[in-house]
Every structure is written in C-alpha cells, then in structure tokens.
Amino acid sequence: MPIIDMPVETLLERIARPAGGPGPEGRDGGARLTSDDLVALLPKLGCELEEVAEVRQFVCGLCDKSYDRTAAQGPPLHCAHCGADFRARPDTLRDLGPGRVLRLNMLAVRPDIFDPGGMARYIRGYLGVETGLREYPLRAARLRVQVDPQLHEPESLRPYIACAVVHNVRLDHAMIKLVMNLQEDLHWALGRDRKLASIGVYDLDTLRGEIFHYDAVDPDGLRFVPLGLDPADPASTLTPREILARHKTGQAYAHLLRPLRKYPLLRDGAGTVLSLPPIINSEATRVTLRTRNFFVDVTGLSQRSVDRALNIVVTSLREILPEVALECVLIEQPGGVVRITPDLAPTELTLDVRRAADTLGVALNAAQLGELLESMGHGVEEAGHADRLRVLVPAYRNDVLHPVDLIEDAAIAYGYDQIPRELVPTFTVGAPRLIEEQSAVARRVLTGLGCHQIMTLVLSSEAAAFDRWRLPPGQPLGDALRARAVRIENPISVEQTMCRVSLGPGLLETLAGNKQYDLPQQIFEIGDVCFVDPDAETGAREERYAAAALIGTHVGYADIRAIVDAFARELDRPITVRPVEHPAFIPGRVAAIGRPGDDWIGTLGEVHPEVLENYGLRHPVALFELSLAKLLA
C-alpha cells in the first residue's frame, strides 16, 4: 500500500471552486473547508490519512519532475523520472520552498481519487456541492493511431493502446508534478507497475502528421534520445536495447521487454519517436512549462486497464485544469476495428432497492437511495419499476464490477457512523474444537506442575531444527524428519526457511535467551508442528505437539520422567517408556514414549552436552516432547 502525497492547498482550492463547470458561468460557491475539516472527513470516505506533512518541494531541472520531501527524507539523490544524478550535478535540482501535503494510505481500488482533481470531485459530491454524473465534453478526433498487428503476437506482445488529446493546458511546476504523480500512481494501482498499463504524456506541438504509428520494432533497429539525456550529446542517441541496458529507467523496467523479440514503439506522422512503452518517452516530445497541449497514450496488456487509466487521466486533468478541452483519437486496430478513445460513456447497472437497503440494514426507498448514489457521482434514472434504479456509473470508476459495489457507495454516502448496530436474531449453538479443549487441559496440567508456557514462532530453519540437535544430513532420525519438513520457496531470512517440525528448538532457544535469570526454570509449549503429507489436500498438515524443558544445577532424567508420568496420568492415557538411542540426548538417559499400537510418539531424556553447547547453555537440561494428538488418539 503506497502513500499518496496530495498537496493540501491545491485540494482545498479545487473543492472550493464554484460549481457548474469551468469559467465565469459557475455561480454557486463550492465548499470552503480547512485542512482540519479534511482530516475529519477523509476517513469517512474510506481514505486513511497518515499525517498532514510539512514538506519542501524540489524539482528536477532536466525533466521538471517535482518532489515533496519531509525534513527527515532530505532532498532526492537522483531523479526517479529521468534518472538524473543530483549528487553528481547538484545544479539540476531546484528548491521551490515549503508546502503541505496529505499523506494518504491508499488501497489500489480507487485510483480515480489519487489526485486533487479526482479527490475534489469525490468530496464535492459527498458534500452535495456537485452531485450526479459529471459530463466531460469531447471534441471529435483529428488524429489517428495505427496499431501494428505484430503487437498481438506473443513475441512482441503489448496489444492495447488508447489515446487522447488535451488542449489548452497551462502549466507551472506544481501542475507538472500533479500530472507526473497521477501517472505514477496509476502505474502502480491500475498498471501493476506498468505491466498491464503504462501512460505517456507528450507536448502535442512537437508532434507532426495526423497518422501516428504504434509498431513492434527491432530492438536494435533505430535510435532516439530518451527523456533526461542531453540531445546535444551524440552519446545520448540510443537504440531501444541500449536504453534497457544503460538508462536508469530502462534498467528498472527492462524485465517487461526483455522476453520479447520486438519492442513496442510509438511514433508520429513524421517518424519522431514519442516513446518506447512502457519504458520511457523521448526527450524531443517532452512536456515543459511552455507546453500548451498534451498528447496522451496508454498502452498495455489489459484492454480494461488501458481504457480506465486513460479515462482517469483525462477526467482528472479536466478537474484540475477546468479550462482544458478534451479531444478523441481514433485507434485503428488490426482487422479493421476502429475504436474512439477516450470512451467516457457511463456503464449502466440496475440496482435492486430492497437488496441495497437490506445489505445496509437501513430502511431506504428508491428516492433516498438515488440521492445517495448521486452524491457519489453516479447518474440515477428510474428503471420503470419502483424497486429498481438504473445507475450510470462514471467511466473513471475502475472498481464497479457488480451492483453490490454501488451499495458500498450508498453506505459511504449514508455514513458508516449513522448505521445502527444490531445482532442477527438467529439462534446458533457454539461448538469448540475438541483438540483445543484438550490442549487447554494439557496446559492446565503443566502449569499445575509449575511450568511456564512459552509461545514461539512456528517457522524454523534446518540449522535450528536439525544441525544444532546433532542430526546432521545422513543421520537416519534427522533425515526422516528433514524429508517431512515444509520448505519455503522465498524465505525472508535464513532463520525461517521451513515450518517447524519440533517444539524442542523453541524451548532451548528460550532457555538460551533467559540464561541471566534465576534457575531452575521450567517451561513448556503446546502447539502445532507441520509435516509434509501426500495424503493431505494441500500436501501438508499440522499436528498438535506438547513439550517441556527443565534447566537447573540438579536437573536430570528423573525430573522429566516425573513430569511425563504426571502428564499422561492426568490426561488418562497410559504410556510405555523404553530405552532408545537418540543423538540429541545423553546415551542411556533417553527413552521413547509409546502408546498401544505406536511405540514412539515422543521422547524424553537429558539433552546431550554438545546440544547444550550449541545453544550456549551452562546447566543440564531435561526435556520431553510428544505428539499430543497421538497421545490423545
């Protein structure tokens, strides 16, 4: 879950903007909120606010990427967008002074509220300033993009593209930052880190011709200057393959193109490269403070993600910059299919009013429900039936898959804090699991015998489970157990590479961690161990174990034997005890605990001095461990 930084002043200003669209025709004032109001409001809208942070704003002199950094973070070291190294070239980093941002902990589900434009739209609806479906006028398409059929082939796969033109933008550093942040947040939330969808924004006035080309090209076949490199330097002109190898952003995303034989490339009518999706744009088409018109593209592996990402970008831009005009682009797909993007037509869903009211547990009629949905930005029409609503879901919403998603919107609009608290009236009978009840009795026995329960982590390692216990590879007892251990494919530390197969290591580790305290110490653990089991549905299963360890100057076999006997007696399960050999114990002071039909369900004895040494223990230890499940069976 990433943190989204949203500039407080920009958001407040957008919320306060007069309703009724851009320009002087807006009459009603928006809502005048303070940042404290936002702090109180955001959690009710499902936005988790981490903090309101004081930041310093920096901007990259090469690509105009902006950064908000807290005092603790300090200035950025290199540009995440174009890769410029600010340590090597300090003059490229400019300090724009202080600002305030909301740090929001956002889930990926609502990328339409990741920027101040979309967030202001959401809040204005909730507050009733501007409700119902927002209209975004679209001008007819002037530009066309021809899609190379090879992009649908597995060897050069990135088949989908959607584009738009945005006229009349006015930029300052803050605005460029918003546009870039919007792109990055969408890359994460919708694009799965540029895989499903990646976005490019270009200065339209650097582009020539009306027919653009989205092609699959030879990675070594042509050269261009990627964003952030100096066009005056001949070494800046690189092939796509060189970009993946040498450019910082290229290296970061190389894994997305490396498996392909041909790389996707977007060019204008004159052959100028716009970008090598999803890696990097060209320097020649870069957006600057002087840019007045945008060309926007989204390419990717998922048609749905590509379309939604474009819809969010253009509608949010229009929310942030009300004076912009949106223009469509024709996409000529292979096989003669032509699409017009962006497609901002709402999705139509039918909502059952009763069902919505029952789901919330609140009595609501169609009119009330319609009002709630309108305040969340949906269009609502009567469905020709008193119990149904026809809901028009805006094209920027990526999360509405099912009518039930509208019920959540209604709940947020209604206010979670207004929902009554009730219990289901249905009678049911509580039913504990037997092994849990039995484990509670087993714990009572061991605490009654003066032992303290410990709880240790259920992940372990081969070193902890076998090597320290004198069970090296090749030792038959150890090998049998090793073969039954569940192994983690991607462990996060060397200490946790498998599920535990024994409680012994946890006991000795705990004793080792408590060497400085009074002796004797008596501890036990009752918990699950986990074994590979081909008969189990998932290939492994847990088994409830019990184990206890005693440490002290005069501790010996007789002490642990007494505990084992008491344990078995109190649980009313007669056991057998017979001598065995076990490398982890002192020879002649170790025994197998058995039950009728299984003569080895556990072990008790005095721990071998070498094992004690492995744990750094300086006093004798006696312990027992057994399968509680088998004892109780």
Binding site: G46, E48, L107, R110, L196, T359, L360, G361, D399, L401, H402, V404, I407, A411, Y416, D417, I419, P420, R421, L423, V424, P425, T426, T428, V429, G430, A431, P432, R433, A440, R443, G450, H452, Q453, I454, M455, T456, L457, V458, A485, V486, R487, I488, E489, N490, I492, Q496, T510, G513, N514, Y517, D518, Q522, I523, C530, E537, T538, G539, A540, E542
Partner: protein, 510 residues
C-alpha cells in the same frame, strides 16, 4: 516473675560462681550457642541484672618456626653438647658430623651461641664460652616458654605467669626470633551479677523457654504450654512465589475463543500450507493482484502442488474471475490459470479457513464460524511486525446479515474483550463489499487504533459456492490486541519471552 529461659540460666550460672564469668565460660557451662549467650547477657545488662566488664589480655601460642622446638632442644643447646663432648673445642665444619644439625642450621645457631655467651668462634674452630650451661636440664626462659606452649596450647600471659614462667624474659629473647611465638591482644567480656540481679534470684524468678518453631514434639507432649512462641516481624516480605502460568498471549487467545463460543460460533480450522486457490482465487483476488507477489507472500517449495476442490466449483471460480460467470459481475477480464491456483502458499490470512467453512456450509441454513490461528506474511521484522502473526476470522451466514449486523457483532465482540468503543470506517478490500475497517478506542492512549478489516463477502465469492445468503466476514489481528491488554511494547516480546515477564505478568489479565 519469669525470665526467658536462657537469661534465667545465665543468672543461675553467675550466682553459683563467686567471681565474674567470661562469655566463653558461660557458653561452656550452659552448652548453648555463643550468640544466644551473648544475646541473653546483653538483654540482662539492659535490664540491669548483670554488668559486663570488658578487659584486654595477651594470648600466646607457638608460631610455625617455634613449633619443632617444643619437643627438642634448640640448635645452640645441641652445639653446646657437641663442644663439651669434643673437649670444649671443635672445628666448625666438623660440628654436623657429631649431631643431626646440617651446615645451615649450625651457621644459623652461631648468632645465638655468641649472644648467650655459650661459645665463640676462634679462627675456623668453635670454642665453648664462659656462660655455657653446665646442666642440660636447666632451661633458659625462652626454652621454658616454648616447652610450656607445646601441643598447640593457647594460653594467656597471666596463666603462664601464674605457672611461674619468666614470660617477659622469654619474650625479650623470642621477639628477635621471628615466627617462634605469636602474641595476640584480645578482649574479654566478664559478666557479673549486679545487686538487683541477686535480688531477682532471691525473689524466686523462674525461666521460661522461647521457641521459634512449634514442633510436633511440643504439640504431642503439651510442652507448648510451657514455652513462648517467638513473635516475628510480620511486616517483613517473604520470598517471591510464582505459579506456573499460561502464556499471556495464550490467555488472550483463549478469551477471544471463549467470547466467540459464547456468541454461538463454531470453531473451524484449515492447514497452514494452503493452495493459492483457497487463499486467493476463492476470494476473488485476481491472479496478478499485488498481494500474491513473491514480495508479500511465502510460497512453498515442498510440497510443490496442491489438489483443487471439486471441478464444478473450480470451474465457477474460473468463470467468475474471467467474466463474472453467472454472478452478475463483469469479473476481472483475464485468463485464469489453474496452475497458479495450485501453487501452495503459507496462508496469508485465516479467511482461507472461513471460506473453506463456507464451502462446507449447507446453503440456505444460517451459520456462524470462527478460527484463531497463525498467518504468514513476508514482512521485514520490526517492533510491530513479524513474518507470523495471529488472526481471528469469523463469518456469519444469515438472512439478516447486513452492515448493521456486522458493526453490531464486532461491537459485541470487542465489548466482551473489554473495549466497548468500536468504530468502523469505509475501506476498499478486494473480497468484501461493503468493506469496513475496524477501530478501537484505547482509553490509555486516548486514540483510535486499527484492528483489522471486515465486510460482506462479494457475490463473486459466495455465489460460486451456491450461497445466496449474505455473509458477514472479518479478520482481526490478535497480537496488537494482546499487546494493549498486557502492555507489551514490541511484538517480539511475545515470542522471545523473558522469564521475569512469564513469571510476573498477572494471571488476571487476559
């Protein structure tokens, strides 16, 4: 009038002897500990029945170098004997030939022979002197003293003088001979009866025994009637005792368990090693969802593949992911992979357990299920995070399931746990709709704290299982709750426990 037995005994002893008695005397006479006698004397002195006078005296005994000569003559006297036998003169080098002294001992004795005037050196010969003793039995004072202290005897100067020994003359000589005699200055307490002590005895005072331990003998023979049981300082603390205890976290888990059982829930379980299918796919989490990344989830290398449940259900789940199937959803619009669904993971939440319970549940009937157990996330360890933590997940299948009954149920649960202030905020979780984040108000922090997620299962989750009732679901973290209850600052303290905490954490807190 009665006195404690030992004080009475001391008085009697003093009355029998006319002279003051030393403490050592009294100890020997009464046959009890010196500490008890001293204590009795001091008590008697405080009440004025005895006087204690302190005097110093000198005590003598042989040192290690003097010890050998208690039984045999000093070397100089041996040499005098040799000289007499040799006619009053002998070559110095030949002296050892005539006695058991070696050359070194002969050399050492020269000084004393000269000083006593018993012999003198003339050239290489030793010649008998004028003062040489004629009678071998007539001992010098120092020799007498050495003999008197034979056998490790320790004696006072006064005693030795009383025996007629010329102690001072002996010491004058021996003080120059290091290690022959040890002289120590000592203090002696002499106890004497006072006038009031004498009167007390005359008045017929009786002794009464004081005992600390009431013994079986005292009880059996009724002897307890004749003794005083020593009073104690009852304000003194005794040693610390700790009963064997369940782990504090276990007690919290048990309390959570009991609360759900009280609320009519059935306890369920599922394996730690879980198929991606039950952990993610059954919960409508798309196969490219970030939560399924190797970054966040532990994948299992052995076993390397899980079986999938019955084909009809798997097929419905596939369709739901791809296009919504017959759930009324548009689905995630991608190609669902059976292989990815079979990949085993360490379960990332106990919702894998409750969704399995829902799959076993007979449709159309109400049901409540809960599970408490460990879950696994690929988290870097810090004071708040471990790669393993415990959750309680619960579901309610019921025609009355609603956001209202969800919030009501969570409030009832936390109220029973001792946290009556419960709040929910909207949130966006992948498999519930509506979704609600659960917060508790902590009085001691004065703040709301997140405890977990909840919601109503999406139709994409319930309909493929044939469940048409709405289903309430929640997954709540338990370590955090236990840390508040037991006032633990770092999560690691629960699992790498220190003995003092295990011993001391009060049992009443759960």
């Amino acid at each position: 009038m009665e006195l404690p037995q030992q004080q009475y005994d001391v008085l009697r002893q003093l009355a029998e002897a006319s002279a003051p008695r030393s403490i050592a005397d009294l100890v020997a006479a009464l046959g009890i500990d010196q500490a008890n006698v001293t204590a009795a004397c001091i008590m008697l002195q405080q009440t004025g029945y005895v006087a204690i006078a302190e005097s110093t005296f000198e005590e003598l005994r042989l040192g290690p170098d003097g010890e050998p000569y208690a039984a045999r003559p000093l070397p100089e006297r041996v040499i005098v004997g040799v000289l007499r036998a040799q006619g009053g003169r002998c070559r110095l080098t030949e002296v050892p030939n005539h006695c058991e002294l070696d050359t070194a001992q002969v050399g050492g004795a020269l000084r004393w022979l000269t000083q006593r005037g018993w012999a003198k050196k003339e050239g290489d010969a030793l010649v008998l002197g004028a003062n040489a003793p004629a009678d071998a039995a007539a001992l010098e004072p120092d020799e007498q003293l050495i003999r008197a202290l034979a056998g490790g005897r320790v004696a006072t100067r006064a005693e030795l003088e009383a025996e007629g020994l010329p102690v001072q003359a002996a010491l004058d000589v021996l003080s120059k001979r290091k290690g022959f005699v040890v002289l120590k200055e000592r203090t002696q307490r002499l106890v004497s009866l006072t006038e009031s002590g004498r009167k007390l005895l005359a008045a017929g005072v009786q002794g009464r025994r004081k005992v600390t331990q009431l013994t079986p003998e005292l009880l059996a023979e009724g002897g307890w009637r004749d003794v005083d049981l020593q009073p104690y300082d009852v304000t003194l603390a005794a040693k610390q005792l700790y009963p064997g205890k369940e782990h504090p976290f276990q007690r919290t888990l048990e309390r959570v368990r009991r609360v759900f059982l009280e609320m009519g829930f059935e306890e369920v379980v599922s394996p730690w090693v879980e198929s991606s299918f039950w952990d993610f796919d059954a919960l409508f989490q798309p196969q490219d969802h970030p939560a399924r990344d190797m970054q966040d989830t532990f994948y299992v290398a052995r076993p390397d593949r899980c079986r999938l449940p019955d084909e009809t259900y798997v097929e419905r789940v596939r369709a739901t992911h791809e296009n919504g199937g017959d759930t009324g959803s548009v689905g995630w619009q991608y190609r669902w992979s059976r292989e990815l669904a079979q990949k085993p993971v360490l379960r990332t939440h106990t919702t894998a357990t409750t969704i399995r319970a829902l799959a076993r549940h007979s449709a159309g009937r109400p049901g409540k299920y809960f599970v408490i157990g460990p879950v696994f996330r690929r988290e870097t360890v810090d004071y708040k995070h471990l790669p393993i933590f415990h959750q309680v997940d619960g579901i309610i299948v019921d025609p009355h399931a609603s956001l209202a009954t969800l919030i009501g149920t969570l409030t009832a649960f936390y109220t029973k746990m001792g946290f009556p202030k419960v709040k929910v905020n909207p949130s966006f979780f992948p498999y519930t709709e509506p979704s609600a984040e659960v917060l508790l108000y902590l009085e001691n922090r004065g703040d709301w704290v997140e405890m977990g997620g909840s919601g109503l299962f999406r139709p994409e989750v319930t309909l493929p299982l044939g469940i048409h009732d709405r289903v309430l679901a929640w997954g709540l973290g338990l370590e955090r709750l236990a840390m508040f209850i037991h006032d633990v600052k770092a999560i690691g303290e629960l699992f790498y426990a220190a003995m003092p905490w295990l011993r001391e954490a009060p049992l009443c807190r759960a």
